[in-house]
Assembly symmetry: C2
């Protein structure tokens, strides 16, 4: 197979972790006789600095014309504490999601046998956790009208959902559930929000089309609790953009390390693969960031192109590196801490 992949390294540790995913993917391609051509493109604060725009048209063209996008991270602290900044790196991410139509963010949560004791949660609570949070990614309060009134003293954001947006996400959730544990949980705040009531009624209307799936409805506050108390109770969770943002980060503690959790964002055409950790600016340029979440995101990419052996090869080599302690300092725990690039080299060599 020939794959054209757009490479959006972004900010902070983005470029470093992306480099390792490229090495590993190239090794997989060599082994399985595929050809990957990578096209780098600017995004985030890096793009603001270079061309004044966090998701330039040129970058969009590259993404739209590729088979998939591999993405690092976006964000820079100099924008975070400046509420008045007009242009911010995150706008690039949101624009990209919207323009590429990436309406569903798939975030698996699982544990690694060799890392289970790194979790802040007790082993018996998390061992065997295998859930997917399917987060709506191009709607909700992220994309509604927002602004100021009363001389800037009143700020507002609008949380909006349309039925078709809920329906297409929910269908994806049902289809995933059928292939897995056959349980779907719709997470909302229907006791307060009208948008959540639309979610609930839309999902309820679909239930009869998927009789083999057991559907439940839970409030987001309760789930924020239960996800930690008993994550094994969940299979596929579908939820709105903002709730998904919060719950997926929360769920990452189960695995013990955000540095391990991959994600994909899918839509009608090209899909995007990215680690769920952020740009981690404190570590940028130090060659210490954990590249595994990005490498595992590449595994999700191969899987989506119906190349399960290639995906498995990546997962196997990641497990091997964990078992043999070829890990960055966040996982080293007294043992030798390898550099980001050394981990990448080792993984590529061992594919």
């Amino acid at each position: 197979m020939k794959l054209n992949i757009a490479l959006l390294a972004g900010d902070g540790i983005g470029p470093e972790v992306i480099d390792q995913a490229v090495k590993v993917s190239d090794a997989v391609a060599a082994k399985f006789n595929h050809e990957i051509s990578w096209t780098p493109a600017l995004t985030g604060a890096a793009a603001i600095d270079a061309v004044g725009e966090p998701y330039p048209d040129e970058t969009h063209d590259i993404c739209a014309n590729s088979d998939a996008v591999l993405f690092g991270a976006i964000g820079h602290p100099r924008f975070d504490n400046d509420p008045s900044a007009k242009i911010r790196p995150e706008q690039g991410l949101l624009k990209m999601r919207q323009k590429l139509g990436l309406f569903a963010n798939v975030r698996p949560t699982f544990t690694f046998p060799s890392l289970i004791d790194k979790s802040p949660l007790k082993r018996d609570r998390i061992e065997g956790t295998d859930l997917i949070i399917l987060r709506e990614l191009t709607g909700g309060v992220y994309f509604g009208e927002r602004g100021r009134k009363d001389d800037g003293d009143t700020a507002f954001d609008t949380m909006t959902y349309q039925r078709f947006e809920v329906e297409r996400l929910a269908r994806k959730g049902f289809e995933m559930a059928i292939k897995r544990g056959k349980k779907l949980c719709c997470v909302d705040k229907a006791n307060v929000l009208e948008a959540s009531r639309l979610w609930r009624e839309t999902v309820q209307a679909l239930e009869k089309e998927y009789p083999e799936v057991e559907v439940s409805y839970e409030f987001v506050d309760a789930v924020a609790m239960r996800l930690i108390q008993w994550p094994k109770g969940y299979d596929v969770i579908i939820t709105a953009n903002l709730f998904g943002d919060i719950l997926t980060d929360e769920a990452s503690v189960i695995s013990g390390s955000m540095g391990l959790m991959p994600s994909s964002s899918v839509g009608s055409k090209v899909s995007l693969y990215e680690p769920i950790h952020g740009s981690y600016p404190q570590a940028a340029g130090k060659d210490i960031a954990n590249p595994l979440a990005t490498v595992l995101s590449a595994a999700m990419l191969f899987e989506d192109f119906n190349l399960p052996d290639e995906a498995l090869a990546i997962r196997d080599v990641v497990n091997k590196s964990l078992a043999e302690g070829v890990v960055t300092e966040d996982l080293a725990e007294g043992g030798k801490a390898y550099k980001t690039s050394e981990v990448g080299d080792w993984l590529a060599a061992n594919i």
Copy 2:
């Protein structure tokens, strides 16, 4: 002291747990020579059934003319899966918060030495946790305009904040922090939401008035993670209504049991005290619900009336009941499970 307390038992297990808090408070009043007169009033599904309204005017008058309100829980499952229900119990809670001006919800998170091993989190992560989440309670997306468009196919909710709303909550947070660990964390989503940017700029403007407080700003998704990874990193958290709803429930897992976490809601005049657990309908009427969160909410009430010895007497007897295993089935763990009413009797007798 003479106290007039409005008693809003509400739904589900509300009446049962409220009964125990009354017993214990009366015992405290007897011991310390106070006089409490309790005035019961209808709220929630119970009020809908009786008078068609979840927070009737009569109930409001009783609350507004009392010194404090002791509240049980609200909510009934028959409304949850009926997105079209026009009148819902939760509306009563929201109306009450708004009409009583209860703009700040104070939710402490701490651990009990005798229960620490019940937490899903490891002991070393949580031992000594002592944080307060101060949740804004009368603004944000809970109270903005909401509705449907396009024949019901589009639903919207509006998240709105005014500068004065943020400022009065933030001042309360700064004042609490001064009396405690001197750290304040403003939790928002300022990289996306305009309302969050108003929060950030308002809190930033107050920093110089409280130079002894160390202020930080974190995104809600990151906090959802860090709260579990390292709760001891937080002292006072201030946050918007919706984020506070999610984070306070999440934080309750630290203590190992939602059945233990009290709260107060304060405003300009009368304050309200309630357990953070919900109406737990499955347990209603069975005399098995854990009354300790409500009892500890009564302790917060005494404290706010500047009666620290009375508050301490309650906390001491609760600790004693935990140490001696006089607990409901959720905490019994193989030992004898006491009834809700038995726990209340024991606590009152041991004050």
